[in-house]
Amino acid sequence: MSAASSLKEAAREAADRFEAEHPGTGVVVNAAASGVLLRQIEEDAPVDLFLSASRDEIGRLERAGRIEIGAARPFASNRLIVIVPAGSSPPATLAGLADPRFDRIAIGNPRTVPAGRYAEQALRWAGIRDAVASRLVPGESVRQALEYVARGEAAAGLVYATDARALGRKVTLGPAAPEGSHDPIVYVAAPLRDAPHRTEAAALLAFLLSEEGRRILARHGFLPPPAP
């Protein structure tokens, strides 16, 4: 199972539960930025199930014929939130990031990290994208952006609300990006057409969408997917 970085812990927990219910089945969780996982799949990495933090990556695989049209299922959602290192004070609003005291703003690398694309959209919506352009520090995954802030290297960051929980004590939460300031954050799961373990992939996807799967995701702070 290749899972977006932000899903790392939730995916592992879901995999553990699935393994317990299916003795003899082992699930390997490969966590990285969705764009990086996309590349690995394009290069024929042996992946059964792909959990992406954006529809874009899934769409590309659908167009390449690697995912059957209609096989992908949205299963969770998330919010984007401003964070600052623990002990420093966050801006009141998203636009407050324009304040020069935020000399470095960590986001995911928009080229490969969906969270970075959402962050750019939100900054543009707030009207400060160009003002802060030279202060943006791209991380290889949303988790690296989080790490930059937790370590105090960046004065602020834009990450998922679920990530901020993962390192709760090292960062202080600021305002969330308002709804509509960026594309809806939709996590999509899809089995690969040429998956080495097709039956297990379908079962794992079903588990993820089950009541128990949803409970695990909710426990890690993920929101239910938007109604179709």
Binding site: A33, V36, L38, R39, R104, R111, T112, E140, G152, E153
Partner: protein, 218 residues
């Protein structure tokens, strides 16, 4: 993007090579000539970047130079400036990775000089510094030159420690190797190929120039 990555790579490689050539020659000289306690330990420590994974070296550099690092904390407090995510971070990472290559070359070159040269030089009234500048350095020049070439090659190819300490910011800390990595991950194979070809051309050019320089001086 290609041009800024090339310019940054060459600048960083030149700066770190200059730094490493100076300090590394001195360190090689000390290791070759002086007998002091802990010499072998120091030698082993200086060589660590050769054997450690670059990520480990990069992590140590963060612990040392980061905003909350050992040296980084006072630096940031007094100047409001910090090393990570700047081109200085690229130079620091490249220098630390290239340093052992220069020291090894210098040490071997100095150790290869017949000790009687120093006695002869002393009999002509030269002190240690004068001996180093007028006799030892010219005699060791081939070894030193090969050290400089190796250091440059290592610097321009540095990836792991640079990514950890300097990040991957296009136009600011994105050197050629990082730009290649970025292009591959983003699925831009044509850019990756062009950048790789460029880096290969620069490297071959440096090797040819170094070879020519070596022959002319020999």
């Amino acid at each position: 993007m290609i041009f800024s990555a090339l310019r940054l790579s060459v600048t960083v490689a030149l700066a770190s090579t200059a730094l490493v050539a100076g300090v590394g020659t001195l360190a090689g000289w000390l290791l070759a000539r002086s007998r002091f306690r802990g010499r072998e330990t120091l030698d082993a420590v200086l060589n660590l970047p050769l054997v450690l994974p670059p990520t480990v070296t990069g992590y140590y550099l963060i612990a040392l130079l980061g905003r909350r690092g050992l040296l980084g904390t006072p630096l940031y407090r007094f100047t409001g400036w910090s090393v990570p995510f700047t081109w200085v971070a690229c130079v620091a990472a490249a220098s630390v990775m290239a340093f052992p290559l220069m020291v090894r070359s210098a040490r071997v070159a100095f150790e290869g000089i017949d000790p009687r040269q120093e006695i002869a030089s002393a009999s002509l009234g030269h002190g240690r510094v004068s001996y180093l500048l007028r006799v030892a350095l010219p005699m060791a020049r081939r070894g030193l030159a090969s050290g400089v070439v190796l250091a440059f090659a290592r610097s321009i190819g540095e990836f792991g420690a640079t990514l950890m300490l300097a990040g991957n910011i296009p136009g600011r800390t994105q050197t050629l190797p990082l730009a290649i990595y970025d292009a591959v991950l983003a699925g831009e194979d044509r850019t990756a190929l062009a950048l790789s070809a460029l880096l290969t051309a620069v490297s071959v050019g440096v090797m040819l120039a170094a070879g020519r320089l070596g022959r002319r001086r020999a």
